[in-house]
């Protein structure tokens, strides 16, 4: 092959295949540059950064929507002709575009639109900080889009870093507040450590397998594990398999950090408490969605090679077995410690941080179920991924709603302590109703959206049990998940009890704050929480579409 034809093939791959499916990221990048340019040029300085960012993100949302609609079998409201294949590797295999990518990107872009409106209304950042804040948010979201579509270890690491590093600065956004600086420093040090461990794991995996491209790695992994021994745990072949296990575990550290899964959750409460509620909303919703997508990507990418049954298939079954136990154990511990840690919290943001950790556990339960049924029961596996996608969709509204309420109440009451919310029902009944809907939905009680998504996750565990796939583990996970739902009831409802039954403090200093705009914001975010609990077929149809990615 001469240089000319190499160049031509690269050009064709980039311009005709990759870039048309990369428009969301391009729109985000262009928006970042535009936000900064508008600050630089005196002519454009009157333009509010939030508006520029909102315009750019609207473009990204439109592109994400048309990518999702262009997939074969895009279901709702009406079936349209597919404009691109169901699965397409981009940039020579660095990224992959499929229904999961399209769904997560759409969620992220939709979240960004709501989020920018939310920050505009809640007043953090102010106009002066707007350009910096939105640049950081958009840069981080760009990394999250890449996390959802990474197909190569290099891109996995880069995407995780791109999503994390701007968040460190975001956590320290309230300059001059000690708690905020402490949050940023803790987050940065912890993140750097996790990234270092993850990079070491990646280097071990790449060193043994000789490649960084996930499907090629899976083929090599299946060959080594299948050749070397009957199972993972035979002492004779301790060589590469021990190194692969170590590499996998070290890589899991980085992913668990992004997911805030126990035992790598320590940063989460401190960062959420120290940073503004707006930043907490971003970290708990967008970062979580991307991290779950990446965990699914890595587990599916390393554990399955499609239907081709050859020598590597048996080896990959062992890999999946290992992954299911790793993810399942982490899910059980994360759920339980997250929920128990939430007890006795007096700060609302800290409580929501533990709630975020617990929800990461529930999501990991779904990932474990999906990986368990991967390759064994394609239908069940698809349903498990559907449950995950649906959960992420509803979680967006639940947690954005929760943090919006915290931010609005902070502006009104000048406090984020739960005790300060006492007797709020007398002065702000609407806000208490909204908080009630969000918190009850976070518990997972009918008829709210949280119930449907939790039900879907648990039913995929049940499906694995009835089909006898990893039965003991799945049974344990189901019991732990159920118990945790009961545990979580108490601390969410305690907040509602304080809001309704406790007498309001006599010396409350309620700031005169405008009512209708924050009220409209909270309503706009909370109404979907109620509606999705009843009319969930639209979102479910798209979640099902996302679930088809593995087949």
């Amino acid at each position: 092959m001469d240089l000319g034809s190499l160049l031509t093939s690269t050009l064709t791959d980039t311009l005709e295949v990759s870039l048309p499916l990369f428009r969301v990221e391009l729109a985000l990048s262009a928006t970042i540059v535009l936000v900064l340019l508008c600050r630089m040029l005196p002519v454009l300085r009157w333009l509010d950064s939030a508006l520029v960012a909102l315009g750019g993100v609207a473009f990204a949302l439109w592109y994400a929507w048309s990518d999702l609609r262009g997939l074969p079998g895009s279901p709702w409201p009406a079936v349209v002709a597919a404009t691109h294949p169901a699965s397409q590797e981009l940039f020579g295999g660095l990224l992959i575009f499929d229904s999961l990518t399209a769904y997560i990107r759409f969620l992220l872009a939709g979240f960004l639109v709501l989020y920018i409106l939310f920050t505009k209304i809640s007043g953090i950042p102010d106009r002066e900080d707007g350009a910096d804040f939105y640049t950081l948010v958009l840069g981080s979201s760009l990394g999250m889009c890449l996390m959802a579509s990474a197909n190569h270890l290099l891109m996995i690491f880069m995407a995780v870093e791109m999503a994390s590093v701007p968040s460190y600065a975001l956590a320290g956004m309230l300059k001059g507040r000690k708690a905020s600086s402490e949050a940023a420093l803790k987050y940065a040090v912890y993140g750097a450590g996790a990234a270092g461990v993850m990079l070491y794991g990646i280097s071990l995996l790449a060193g043994v397998l000789g490649t960084c491209h996930l499907p090629s790695m899976a083929a090599e992994l299946g060959r080594i594990v299948g050749d070397g021994a009957d199972s993972f745990y035979v002492a004779d072949s301790a060589g590469p398999i021990m190194v692969l296990t170590l590499g996998g575990l070290m890589m899991a550290v980085g992913l668990a950090f992004k997911l805030s899964a126990v035992p790598f959750h320590f940063w989460c409460p401190d960062v959420f408490e120290g940073a503004a509620a707006e930043v907490g909303a971003f970290l708990s919703v967008a970062s979580k969605a991307a991290a779950v997508a990446l965990a699914v990507r890595v587990a599916f990418g390393l554990g399955w090679l499609g239907d081709a049954a050859d020598a590597s298939a048996a080896g990959l079954a062992d890999v999946r077995h290992f992954l299911v136990y790793l993810i399942g154990l982490m899910a059980a511990v994360t759920c339980t410690l997250g929920n128990l840690g939430a007890y006795g919290q007096t700060n609302m943001k800290r409580l929501l941080a533990y709630s975020t950790i617990a929800h990461a556990g529930y999501l990991l339960l779904g990932v474990a179920a999906a990986v368990a049924m991967l390759g064994v029961d394609p239908e069940g596996c698809r349903k498990a991924v559907t449950a995950l996608a649906f959960y992420l969709g509803t979680y967006l509204f639940m947690n954005l709603g929760a943090f919006a309420i915290v931010a609005v109440l902070r502006n009104r009451l000048r406090s984020e302590e739960i005790a300060a919310y006492a007797g709020l029902v007398r002065s702000n009944p609407g806000m208490v109703v909204a908080a009630g809907a969000v918190l009850v939905s976070l518990v997972g009680l009918p008829p709210l959206a949280g119930f449907v998504s939790k039900f879907l996750i648990f039913s995929s565990l049940v499906e694995a049990i009835t089909k006898g796939i990893e039965r003991p583990l799945m049974l344990v996970l189901l019991v732990i998940g159920g118990l945790n739902t009961v545990i979580s009831l108490f601390y969410y409802l305690r907040v509602l009890k304080v809001m309704t039954f406790d007498p309001p403090p006599e010396d409350r200093v309620a700031a005169p704050a405008p009512v209708w705009l924050p009220g409209a914001l909270v309503t706009a975010v909370v109404v979907p929480v109620v509606l999705l609990g009843i009319f969930w077929s639209g979102l479910y149809a798209y979640a099902q579409l996302a679930g088809t990615f593995a087949s």
């Binding site: 190499l6 990048s29 701007p166 000789g210 490649t211 590469p240 170590l246 840690g341 406090s415 403090p505």
Partner: protein, 244 residues
């Protein structure tokens, strides 16, 4: 008088000891021991300026290891980015800001013991892992240092002109690195903006809501609730793992 030419003759005739030395192994041992020794010194030192200086030496010796392995580009990058970066950090970050209370960093004895146990355990694990893979134990047959910059430069614009490595999986996809190369520039832009934001002095006249919240004393009843809650929190903090 005849002894002198004889000694000279013997010296010339004898195989030169210099030729017998395996220079590759010698330099490897030299760079490796400098790298590891000063890495330990970074941990053991108490003074920030010394730590930074030891780090420069350790990273520089690592660059030497890369040169020995035939990865010249990587070695040059190591020198430029890590050694250069640490030097800048040493000059600006440490020497300009290090005031008397901040120069010495001393961990408590308990911390040192704990860190030592964790570090040694991890080292043992990684050493065992590294030596347990057969292909990694045998020396690579004849490392040939090729001029590596051209293939790297081409792959950064998306074209892979290098041959696949010997023993690489057959189905291996070898993408060019145009996307990471380009996307990391956006990332660097964003991170620079973030760093500038954090480093910038405040120009604010009107305090924000949250700052008022921090400065205003909470009402007495709230403070009382909070103190009760804090007690409860403390009892739960073993699980929470966070700040009491």
């Amino acid at each position: 008088m005849s002894a002198l030419p004889m000694i000279a003759g013997a010296l010339i005739a004898a195989p030169l000891p210099v030729a017998a030395i395996n220079w590759h192994s010698l330099f490897f041992l030299l760079f490796a021991s400098v790298s590891c020794g000063f890495a330990v010194a970074v941990v053991a030192a108490d003074n920030v300026v010394r730590m930074a200086f030891y780090l420069v030496l350790s990273l520089g010796a690592t660059a030497g290891l890369f040169f020995l392995a035939g990865a010249e580009f990587l070695g040059a990058m190591q020198l430029m980015i890590y050694v250069g970066g640490t030097l800048v950090l040493l000059v600006f970050g440490v020497m300009l800001t290090a005031q008397a209370p901040l120069v010495a960093i001393k961990g408590s004895g308990r911390d040192r013991v704990l860190a030592g146990i964790v570090g040694v355990a991890l080292l043992a694990l990684l050493l065992q892992a590294a030596f347990s893979v057969k292909p990694w134990r045998a020396p690579a047959a004849g490392v040939v240092a090729e001029p590596a910059a051209t293939p790297i430069g081409m792959s950064l614009v998306g074209v892979r002109v290098d041959e696949p490595a010997v023993g690489a999986p057959a189905a291996n996809k070898r993408p060019g690195y145009m996307l990471p190369f380009e996307i990391v520039s956006i990332h660097l832009l964003v991170v620079l903006v973030g760093a500038a934001y954090l480093a910038r002095a405040k120009r604010r006249k009107v305090p924000r809501a949250i700052e008022v919240a921090a400065s205003v004393e909470p009402p007495a009843s709230v403070a009382e609730h909070a103190s009760i809650g804090r007690e409860r929190h403390r009892s739960g903090s073993v699980l929470a793992g966070g700040r009491p």
